[in-house]
Symmetry: C2
DNA sequence: CGCACATTAGGACAACTGTCCTAAAATCTC
DNA sequence: GAGATTTTAGGACAGTTGTCCTAATGTGCG
């Protein structure tokens, strides 16, 4: 793997685990195992790294959703797949929160130029969910339902991160899935 | 107002608007209009300020909930009062997110010693909500309901902060209130 | 008033920040 | 293998960080 990709990968992880502001040029270089001078050859500024990280996350998200669109037979199963993210990533979320939600929050506070790019990741999820609800026969309020599912996962992620209680995430996910099943025809 | 209170108030606001990590000793001193030397007389470390800020938030929260307990006639109206926080603070939330949620998230990422203190603010809300649902006659799952209402407000706050869409918060709050009314006997 | 104490200002300190430069090393092309 | 280009290392730079010290000022009490 090229140096540039290694940098983006390390920065991606550090931004998630420590936050953007906290993560320094030096610590990324140290993680990758290169000198700060070499670092500068690939990225001139910290903002450039952030852009690359957000771009990578955006593409990863699109690729994941594309797999889900193909992999799951019904729209309801696809929505379930999304809701179960918080279960699959429960351990990370307890430690560091939701990668999308915490990044947008931090960039909002920093009034960072790349904030819109971070929000775009939310938008990709939202659009995808809306499509699923449309297919499910709820075109009229598909966007509302998409936002409700997004808000659910953000709320559960935040509280899971705060309280870290065993069984909480799983319980809430099951509850939502039950509610969602009533939407099926 | 004493210098110490002014410092805590300024730090409270700056921590909310810019985040804890971003906010510097110097910027707090500048906001209050005192020298960094004087600052050091009142607080030895940045962590000490954070503790004072969290303590102040905790007391403010308790005081607010106490007023609500007295001010609203029925437990359902009290819960409504809570849910409407996100409407009342919509403008701030669009800019900076929920003060409680974003603070706990940031401190979690920083692995900060005061993280537990920040979570305590969540806990105060949770306990208060649980009491309301108990009074409402749902003692069996009062804590679950409290967590659901908390998660709702966190989810809505995060998405409102991300998308900033007109009418979103109000719409979601009305939807939840309708759902909550079905809990009333 | 005069003295003790609380409060303040201003600056010093090393460590770290993001940024940038230069020269050496590695790699590729012919 | 020679030469050009890409990639690397190491350190310099000014500015900022949290922390700390000292001396001056304010304030209250006898």
């Amino acid at each position: 793997m090229g140096t540039r990709e290694q940098i983006v990968e390390a920065a991606n992880r550090l931004f998630y685990q420590q936050g953007y502001e906290r993560t320094s040029f030096a610590s990324i270089a140290e993680t990758v195992g290169i000198s700060r001078g070499n670092f500068y050859y690939h990225f001139k500024t910290k903002d450039e790294i952030l852009e690359a990280v957000l771009e990578a996350r955006l593409q990863d998200t699109r690729a994941m959703l594309a797999r889900w669109t193909e992999g799951a037979a019904t729209p309801l199963k696809r929505v379930f797949r999304f809701v179960e993210i918080v279960v699959a990533n429960r351990a990370d979320i307890e430690h560091y929160g939701c990668p999308v939600g915490t990044m947008t929050s931090e960039l909002a506070k920093l009034d960072h130029p790349s904030r819109a790019q971070a929000v775009d990741i939310f938008r990709v999820f939202r659009d995808w969910l809306r499509e699923q609800f449309t297919e499910l026969g709820h075109a009229a309020n598909a966007d509302d339902l998409a936002l409700q599912v997004l808000a659910f996962s953000q709320g559960v992620a935040t509280l899971s991160n705060a309280f870290g209680e065993r069984g909480y995430v799983k319980r809430e996910v099951e509850r939502l899935k039950t509610r969602l099943m009533s939407l099926d025809t």
